[in-house]
């Protein structure tokens, strides 16, 4: 079974890497398999890690409060399932409103307490530094604030600040791009290693 798996993995790797030669049917077939397997796996994870344990707990729990909460979750879930039927759109919207509300509330609180607070503390904690100046320039370039135009000199100063801010953005995004490139190169090395090792073992 392991040998068969290695053969399959080798074939799939070669099918994907064939894109370097041309966008062929072989590559598209492998890409379709990737999408199908990913969606199927995601759905299986949702089912086995969230839904099925919950249904099992409803049948086994003796705590009435817990059971009520589980029934509420299932009820709201059924409302979301109703979203799939166009006639029951409004009912489905109620379930989605709860899901979206929890998502937005958690994301908003996370943004305030998890990102804004710590990042502002870290940025201003060391006094006036090059890093703080870069942060301010990057924020000013995003145009959250635009001062009223008062003469040519102030306008040109503002334009200069924005240009510097965009330069900071470009440099910071460049470093992130470089990091992603290194990750990709590591994956390429890993795949090349797998191909070379497997083929050299068979060659012997």
């Amino acid at each position: 079974m392991e040998l068969m798996g290695i053969v399959v993995a080798l074939l799939l790797t070669l099918m994907i890497l064939s894109y370097l030669i041309d966008d062929t049917a072989v590559y598209r077939l492998a890409a379709s398999l990737l999408v199908g397997l990913s969606v199927g796996y995601f759905m299986a994870v949702m089912l086995w890690n969230v839904l099925i344990p919950q249904w099992r707990e409803i049948m086994t729990t003796t705590d009435s409060l817990r059971r009520s909460l589980l029934f509420l979750e299932v009820g709201l879930g059924v409302l979301i399932l109703a979203k799939g039927v166009p006639r029951l759109g409004l009912i489905g919207d109620l379930g989605l409103a709860v899901a979206l509300g929890i998502g937005l509330g958690t994301a908003g609180a996370g943004a305030v307490f998890g990102t804004l607070g710590p990042q502002l503390m870290a940025g201003t904690g060391q006094g006036i530094t090059l890093g703080l100046a870069a942060t301010l320039l990057a924020l000013l370039a995003a145009q959250f604030y635009r001062p009223p135009t008062r003469g040519r000199i102030l306008e040109s100063i503002w334009t200069g600040i924005q240009a510097l801010g965009r330069a900071v953005w470009a440099f910071a995004l460049g470093t992130l791009f470089g990091g992603a490139l290194i990750t990709g190169i590591s994956l390429l090395i890993g795949r090349a290693e797998f191909l070379i090792q497997t083929l050299s073992q068979w060659w012997r």
Binding site: T13, L34, A111, W169
Partner: protein, 207 residues
């Protein structure tokens, strides 16, 4: 009016409720909300999965261009899910079954890693196109950022040592500060989005 006001009102109420555990520590409420959120996400995933299958089988039925790929995609997804259900029915957890594990290890992982391995080619090509089509100072700053990261991670060379102090003094604060500015901007955007939904300025539901 009612059709749009009801989901919007419920949305505002739930946003306020979700914020309560962060203002006034209530571990039980926080845990319940997290559990409710993940459960609803799972139900939304079921709707999404059915819609995914419908869209692909519709393409197959209409013999649209590339329909064989749609057939392969839909059948693979369905087969994986049914296999996990069959194995879970026998053993209790569908993700721990031998065939599901085999498909994950020898199917999904090599495919994902191989697509990731194509990434450097796409990225270098995109960088080359950027350099050819856009001639501005910002592109030079972008390329400088890329080169900085590459030089610092060039293992087995003297470059990181030679370049290190200059990076620590000037470039690292610039990159960290810039990324911090972007993160703060994104966080402000998230808070604004939440406030707009809370105050009914945006009504994403009830259409």
């Amino acid at each position: 009016m009612f059709r749009r006001a009801l989901p919007a009102g419920l949305l505002s109420l739930v946003i306020a409720l979700a914020l309560v555990p962060y203002m006034w520590p209530q571990p039980a409420l926080r845990q319940s909300l997290t559990e409710l959120g993940s459960t609803l996400l799972a139900y939304a995933a079921v709707v999404g999965f059915l819609s995914f299958l419908e869209a692909h089988f519709h393409r197959v039925g209409a013999r649209a261009e590339g329909w064989p790929y749609s057939l392969v995609t839909a059948l693979t997804a369905l087969a994986f899910l049914l296999l996990s259900l069959a194995e879970g029915g026998l053993r209790g957890n569908g993700l721990a079954g031998p065939w599901t594990g085999w498909l994950y290890q020898y199917g999904l992982l090599p495919l994902e890693a191989s697509v990731g391995a194509l990434l450097p080619f796409f990225m270098v090509l995109a960088l080359w196109r950027l350099l050819r089509t856009r001639r501005s100072a910002y592109v030079l700053f972008f390329v400088a950022g890329v080169l900085t990261t590459l030089v610092l991670h060039s293992g087995g060379t003297l470059l990181p040592t030679l370049f290190g102090s200059f990076y620590e003094t000037f470039l690292s604060p610039l990159a960290t500060g810039g990324i911090r500015g972007i993160l703060i901007g994104v966080a402000i955007g998230v808070v604004v989005m939440m406030m707009r939904a809370f105050l009914w300025i945006d009504r994403p539901l009830g259409r």
